[in-house]
Amino acid sequence: MIAASLVRVESWTRHLIPAGITLVLFVVELLPWTGHDIIPVPSLMLIAVFYWSVRVPALCPPLFALALGLCADLLEMTPLGSQGCVALMISLLARFKAKRLGQQSFITLWSLFALVMLGQSVFLWIGELVLASTSLPPINLLTRALLTVALFPVVARLLLLPAQKLANEAVLVD
């Protein structure tokens, strides 16, 4: 009985790994890395949401992506729902095409993520203009998108090992 409970706890813990890592990356993103310089901080959270949604969609549900995106909106002072909707769309699209995307090469995934970031920048710019009546500097949005895309291979490499372990332990069932 105890052994069965332990197995269940272990299984639950394993299921929480992607969410936990994404949450840690999100908090890391909020720390004052650039010391309030003009340099924008890349969105590590979106990289993680995209990566987990493609590699282990069952462990990165759209509800989690939406909740994290809404938290980002509230903490980063963007219009509520703007980053939430983007994270939700990434999660839903990646889940929808997970089987096909899972077989794609890394370069294809990287290119796709670059397109997603470009779309996100445009969406945020329009969202801020319409909902908050202020204009975000496009150069800041593009710099952030470029930095995020540039960091994608590094973060993806860090996430590769846990993703492979989770895949080997057959928790990839969608």
Partner: protein, 282 residues
């Protein structure tokens, strides 16, 4: 399920317009909840920043020591002059019956986060309304010690205050507008920013002649900020506008002092004033 989540996303977008007060309350609560984690995780990072800065200074320690001795010698002379002027100023103020400026208390608080992403030049503070920090209060780089006159350099103002955390809008943010005055020429202007490192002076009077190197201080004409806080120095005056270099080192904000200045209350409308009773005028 997906349709429900999309609906939640769309409704949350609509909330920005429909109920901005609710969105602001939510922001305060979430920021309060995140503040302890950010404060805890930010401490090693702050230590790393300080260690890096100190490491860079070790090579210049002898030159710095020599410069400090020289600066100290000059400051002692300035101190004597300042004390003399202070006494003279106090005597003149007493003769003219000048109303004294209200005393301003300060709350020093740690900067724990920079949650602006690419969207906002802001800083998250470890203190909130429970420490007396309120929305609209200005923040400066350091607190003056007891008996030390003057205030530090202006950093920004509080735009959101939760119970245990607050958000500071820096003077380099595109939404920042600070009424300022040039210290020597007494020209009034607004210090606006465009997310560059150097904000610019706008809404200057026609024909205003601005000298590079002149100090810029808060004018207090918005009745929200105390007058006379040093903001920056005019760095350039060319086709790119009149740019001001902030005196505060915004790249290295570890602590700030929030001034508990409640602003000057506006006069009540004339119709609400009670006329003096007849027969009591002399």
């Amino acid at each position: 399920m997906s349709a429900l989540l999309i609906s939640v996303g769309v409704v949350s977008l609509g909330l920005n317009r429909a109920n901005p007060a609710l969105v602001e309350t939510l922001r305060s609560h979430v920021t309060d909840a995140a503040a302890p984690a950010l404060a805890f995780l930010g401490q090693p990072l702050a230590g790393l920043h300080n260690w890096g800065a100190e490491l860079g200074q070790w090579g210049h320690v002898y030159e710095e020591n020599r410069d400090l001795r020289e600066t100290n010698r000059r400051l002692v002379t300035w101190r004597d002059a300042a004390l003399r002027l202070e006494t003279e100023n106090a005597a003149l103020r007493a003769q003219l019956h000048v109303a004294p400026d209200p005393a301003i208390s300060q709350v020093m608080t740690r900067v724990i986060g920079d949650p602006g992403g690419g969207f906002m030049q802001s800083a998250l503070l470890a203190g909130g309304t429970s420490q007396g920090i309120e929305k609209g209060q200005p923040a400066i780089t350091f607190a003056s010690g007891p008996g030390e006159p003057g205030l530090g350099a202006f950093v920004g103002r509080v735009v959101q205050a939760g119970d245990e955390s607050a958000r500071l809008l820096l003077i380099t943010d595109v939404n920042s507008r600070i009424p300022v005055v040039l210290e020597q020429s007494h020209i009034h202007a607004i210090l606006g920013a465009d997310d560059s490192e150097r904000p610019q002076l706008i809404f200057l009077p026609a024909g205003a002649s601005i000298t590079v190197g002149e100090r810029v201080v808060t004018s207090g004409s918005d009745r929200l900020l105390p007058p006379g806080i040093a903001v920056g120095v005019v760095a350039s005056n060319d086709d790119n506008g009149i740019r001001v270099t902030p005196l505060a080192d915004l790249a290295r904000l570890d602590f700030v002092s929030v001034l508990q200045y409640q602003g000057v209350k506006p006069l009540p409308p004339p119709e609400t004033l009670t006329p003096p009773a007849k027969g009591k005028r002399r």
